[in-house]
Amino acid sequence: MTLPLFFFYLFAAILVASALMVISARNPVHAVLFLILAFFNASGLFMLAGAEFLALLLIVVYVGAVAVLFLFVVMMLDVDFASLRQGFLQYAPVGVVVGVILLLELLLLAGSFVVSPEAASGSVLPIDAATDNMRAIGLVLYTRYVFLFQGAAAVLLVAMIGAIVLTLRHKTNVKRQNPVDQVARRPSETLEVVKVKSGQGL
């Protein structure tokens, strides 16, 4: 057994096992932690397939942001996940049947699917085996697709402004820290040096 094959089965097995644990774990925090484990193993699979950009993206975006967000939701909101999921596993047989049917359909499709030999070369950006995919994306992101990239950035800016406009409320009775004021303070404004004679109070 070659080393990549060994790692493929390792990652795949842990991935499937942790995905199962996500839906069957009793403790919601454990479920989220298993989800993170699943993401890590999926990114390992991507790495084996030579898609290192997707692998890193999966970790940065899904583990770094989404999973942490889930964890926050689970911990902050008082949602009774246990009762929500009561009897969840009793539907498992139906789920297995649906899954098997889907798998059979996919196998049927894969068996009859023919990829045209010209398909890869006819693409707008043919795959160049010499450049790794992170470099390939970097080469076109700010050149060929700069308009679309900046347009997408503007969409995100609108989303950010929109979220702030619609939800941010300034509370007037909250004391806020003002670093500029703090740094600008002089000893003369705040300290008073007093000579106290011994034996006497102020």
Binding site: G122, L139, V140, T143, R144, Y145, V146, F147, L148, Q150, G151, A152, A154, V155, L157, V158, A159, I161, G162, I164, V165, L166, T167
Partner: protein
């Protein structure tokens, strides 16, 4: 790697967009830094920016295809961009008086209008299914937020949420259509799609994609049967925001539709013609009858705008250069009339606040004769009475349909126009012949200017702007053929 942007000068066709984007970000920073009481400063800055960008589009023409074919600047795009920028600038001005009441006093309002306008310009200049979608989303997302900008008002938030959910649905349809078109032609670039259609002919998958794509766009121009959101959103959103919704976004989406059907799908004209004719007839007829029962004046305007989209589509259905010219002229006149109408509406206020229902307009002619007169003129123009501007708009559209031998469509259009006269004239009747119940407040100077300009243009259209506008529209339409 193979980019066609080699130096700054080669970006010339996209200068207006770049200026608008940079200006919007600068104004955003200004808005964050200056204190809250002077946030109208940002609005004034935004109006100025829109006017500068508009004059750049108008007087410094640079045409060409840019960014590896995703962006096109031609006469048609320039014409529509001028309309979009003008519509945005005027609706921003409408939001200046009594901004506190409408929730438009926040500086983010102007920034969102600017970014929405940027999205509209990208839509107008889209030459690729991807840039089309990015532009459309940039515009739509800003509009969803704008609808709910008065966040403590339950009707405004309802309007925003409704618009968001239905807008997301329409984006889904549009994307589905785009993926079908891409799948069956193998290209996302609109010019490449034209070539692919010419080579391979029509296929059922392509027609499917085209129908979904047009449905998505029809939602944005609120053509029947994709109009359901319009009356609710127009009624719920603050009035200056409604004025914005009714002008610039409609023009941009209409420009997108014209480019898609006249350029991209020119190989399957007989197929898209059926869709456009259906949208046109359904919009004209439904709007004419549905508006009759309306009590709220904003709902009335919503149905009126649905009807006008139908009339503009009459011109487009012909599929000829004259038809595109008709649509271009129609949209220009529609924007001028709508801006004027909203300026009148915003300026008529009783001590109970802004006028909401048609009955509240009673006796406006005695108390505010100028505003009532202009509003009546605009109503007559919306019906299509000669010699007002609205008549020429409809004339161009119907002429194109008759040239293309779509007699039934033209007849239905004229009949729908006659039916719509009823509800327009009802407003005039209430203003002129009903006894005044309440007194009206004084009109702010800014609104008076806009009302005056709009009224002047509508009345003297044939003698003043009509000729140059028709010339400009002629060149614009010519660039698509």
């Amino acid at each position: 790697m193979n980019s066609d942007v080699t130096d700054f000068a080669s970006l010339a066709p996209a200068y207006p967009e770049m200026l608008l984007a940079v200006g919007a970000i600068v104004l955003l920073l200004v808005g964050v830094v200056i204190n809250k009481e002077r946030s109208l400063l940002v609005s004034y800055g935004a109006v100025l920016l829109l006017l500068v960008v508009g004059s750049l589009v108008l007087f410094a023409p640079a045409e060409g295809v840019l960014f590896n074919g995703v962006f096109i600047s031609d006469s048609f795009a320039r014409y529509m961009k001028v309309l979009v920028l003008g519509g945005s600038a005027f609706s921003l001005m409408l939001a200046l008086p009594r901004a506190e009441e409408y929730g438009t006093h926040k500086f983010e309002y102007a920034i969102l209008v600017l970014l929405a306008t940027l999205g509209m310009m990208a839509m107008v200049s889209a030459n690729d299914l991807m840039s089309l979608y990015v532009g459309l989303e940039l515009q739509s997302l800003s509009l969803y937020v704008l609808a709910a900008i008065k966040r403590d008002d339950s009707r405004a938030t309802e309007a925003g949420l409704k618009y968001f959910v239905l807008g997301a649905l329409s984006s889904g349809m549009l994307l589905y259509g785009a993926s079908m078109v891409y799948g069956f032609t193998g290209h996302t670039n609109l010019q490449e799609i034209v070539i692919a259609i010419a080579d391979e002919g029509r296929s059922i998958g392509l027609i499917f994609g085209m129908v979904f794509l047009l449905s998505g766009v029809a939602f944005k121009i609120s053509a029947v049967p994709f109009h359901m959101w319009t009356p609710d959103v127009y009624e719920g959103a603050p009035t200056p925001v409604t004025a914005f919704f009714a002008t610039a976004p409609k023009v941009a989406a209409m420009a997108l539709l014209v480019r898609l059907v006249m350029d991209t799908f020119q190989g399957i004209t007989s197929d898209w013609q059926q869709v456009v004719i259906f949208l046109s007839i359904a919009s004209m007829v439904l709007a004419a009858f549905a508006a009759i029962g309306q009590k709220s004046i904003k709902r009335l305007i919503a149905y009126s705008s649905i009807g006008h989209v139908g009339f503009a589509l009459v011109g487009l259905s012909s599929g000829t250069q004259v038809g595109v010219e008709g649509v271009a002229i129609y949209m220009a006149i529609y924007v001028a009339m709508t801006v004027g109408l909203f300026a009148c509406l915003l300026s008529l206020r009783t001590e109970n606040g802004a006028v909401e229902t048609i009955d509240e307009l009673a006796g406006a002619a005695q108390k505010r004769p100028f505003v009532a007169a202009v509003m009546a003129i605009i109503m007559f123009s919306l019906i299509g009475m000669p010699p007002l501007a609205g008549f020429f708009a409809k004339w161009h559209a119907f002429l194109a349909a008759i040239d293309a031998q779509l007699y039934v469509l033209a007849v239905i259009g004229v009949l729908a126009s006659a039916v719509s006269a009823f509800y327009y004239l009802r407003v005039v009747k209430v203003m002129y012949f009903d006894e005044p119940v309440r007194d009206f407040e004084a009109v702010p100077a800014e609104l008076n200017i806009i009302i005056g300009v709009s009224g002047f243009l509508v009345v003297t259209y044939y003698f003043t702007v009509g000729g140059p506008l028709a010339n400009f529209a002629h060149t614009a339409a010519g660039s698509l053929f």
